[in-house]
Symmetry: C2
C-alpha cells in the first residue's frame, strides 16, 4: 500500500504573482502535493498582522501549472489560517513561506510578513520555514535559493523538528559555484535607524516617508548576518515562546511583587 503524499502549503508576502513564490513552488513540487494560498497583493512589512475588522476574500486562481492555488485579500498570517480552515480542512505536513525578495535576517523576523506566515504555522504545530533571498530585484536569480529550499524541505519532511519551532532561512546573492553552503546561526542583534523624510503635499500638508539604514549592532560571532557576509545561507531556529527566562528569575528574586 502506497503512503499518502505529504502536503506542503506555500505562501509569501510579496503576493501570488511574485517570481519568488514561483521559484519556491518549482523547488519543492517533486517532494509533495503542493498547494498555494498567497496574498493577492504585496504585504511586505506587515509583521504578524491579522485581519479582524474586514471581511476576507479567497479566490481560486490558475497561476502555477498543475498546482491548486488561491489568492487571498488578507495578510500572510490570514492565508495560513484560511488555508487550514477552508481549503485543507487539516494541518499541512509542512508550510513554506517565500522566497522573499529581500533579506529577513536578524531583527527583520519581527517585521517580516514572510516570517509571520511561517510563525503562524508554527503556532498551529505545523513544521515551517521562511525563505528570503538577499536580492530585492524583481528579476533576482533564485537558483541557489531553490537548491536550499529543496534540501531543507526534504529534511523537514523526512525528520520534522519538535513542534512550535520554525526556521528563518536567508540566502546570499551568489552563484551555485561560489555558494559556501548552509550554516546554523543565532539571530543577530540589529536594528533599523529610521530617518523619516519630510515632504509637503500639493495641499500644503506635511507627510513623511519612512526610510532607514540597517545597523548590525552585534559584534559577537555566530550570527546570521555574519554567516551571510561570509557567503553562507543562514538557518536560524526560532521559537514562539518569547519569555526571557533569565530575566524572569531575576525579577522574581528582586522585585518582590
Amino acid at each position: 500500500m502506497q503512503k499518502e503524499r505529504p502536503v506542503i502549503l506555500i505562501t509569501n508576502d510579496d503576493g501570488i504573482t511574485s517570481p519568488g513564490i514561483r521559484a519556491l513552488v518549482e523547488a519543492v513540487k517533486d517532494l509533495a502535493q503542493v498547494i498555494v494560498v498567497a496574498p493577492d497583493s504585496p504585504q511586505s512589512g506587515m509583521g504578524h498582522a491579522i485581519t479582524i475588522g474586514d471581511p476576507l476574500r479567497l479566490n481560486k486562481v490558475d497561476v502555477f501549472e498543475g498546482i491548486d492555488s488561491w489568492q487571498c485579500s488578507g495578510t500572510p498570517a490570514d492565508c495560513v489560517k484560511l488555508a487550514r480552515d477552508k481549503i485543507l480542512h487539516r494541518k499541512p505536513d509542512l508550510c513554506l513561506s517565500g522566497i522573499n525578495h529581500g533579506a529577513n535576517h536578524s531583527i527583520n523576523v519581527i517585521y517580516s510578513g514572510t516570517m509571520s506566515a511561517a510563525m503562524e504555522a508554527a503556532i498551529e504545530g505545523v513544521p515551517s520555514i521562511g525563505f528570503s533571498l538577499l536580492d530585492y530585484k524583481f528579476d533576482a536569480d533564485f537558483t541557489v535559493a531553490k537548491q536550499v529550499a529543496h534540501d531543507l524541505a526534504k529534511r523537514m519532511l523526512a525528520n520534522p523538528m519538535p513542534e512550535h519551532i520554525l526556521l528563518n532561512v536567508n540566502i546570499p546573492i551568489t552563484t551555485v559555484a561560489n555558494f559556501k553552503g548552509m550554516k546554523i546561526c543565532r539571530q543577530a542583534y540589529a536594528k533599523w535607524a529610521e530617518e523619516f523624510e519630510h515632504r509637503v503635499d500639493p495641499r500644503g500638508k506635511d507627510y513623511y516617508w519612512m526610510t532607514g539604514k540597517f545597523m548590525n549592532m552585534d559584534k559577537e560571532t555566530g550570527t546570521d548576518v555574519e554567516a551571510l557576509n561570509e557567503g553562507y545561507a543562514s538557518v536560524v531556529p526560532i521559537k514562539i515562546d518569547f519569555t526571557d527566562y533569565t530575566m524572569k528569575t531575576w525579577l522574581e528574586d528582586n522585585w518582590n511583587l
Copy 2:
C-alpha cells in the same frame, strides 16, 4: 541643581481617543514629562506592521490637558519610530503602550499592536511595558490597571531592566479590594482556533469573517493565563532575540549542514 524630569512616551493600538490611553496618561503623569504619539484610528491585530509603502501623517492634537500629543496615520510601531525621530529627537526614558481594551497574554504578544509598540521601543533600547486589561468594553473600569501601571512605571524609572527586554502586563477584571497583586510569569502556550464564517455579499461573491476561540494548550504551571485566572496581574518579561538556542545546538549536532 535639579535633575531633569524623565520623559515617558505613551502610545497604544486602540487609537488616541480610546479610554484606555487616557487612563494610562492619568496613571503616570505625576512620574515624568509625558508625551503621547498614538494612532489616529484603531490598529488592533496589526502585529508588528510598519508602513513602508505609504506616506505617514503626524498631527499635533489637543486631547489630554497639559500633555503634548500627536496622532499618527500609521501603526503602533510607526508611532514609536516617528516619536523618537521627529518629535523627541532622542530616546524617551520609558515607553508605555496601552492600556489595551482586551487581553494580550500568551500567544497574543505576537498579534498585538499594543505589544508591537513596546517591542519597537525595546529594539531601540528603550525600557518599555505593554498594558492590557481583560475587558474589551469601551467603558471598562481601569482603576486597578492604573494602579498597576503607576507601580511598574515607577519601578522601571527608578531601576531600569537590562536593554532589549520589555514587559507584557495583563490585568484581570477585578476591583481594588479583590485584586491579588502582580505575579511574574512565563508566556502560556496557547492559540486561536479559527473558524472563518462564510457569507455571500449582495453581488453573490463569497467572503469570510475571521472568528476564533482562544485555546490555552498549556497545562503546566507558572503561566500568565494561570495567574490571571487566579486574580493576579501577569507580568511576563519578553525578549527580542527569538533564537531557540536548544534547537540550534540540536541542529548543529544532527543536521551536518
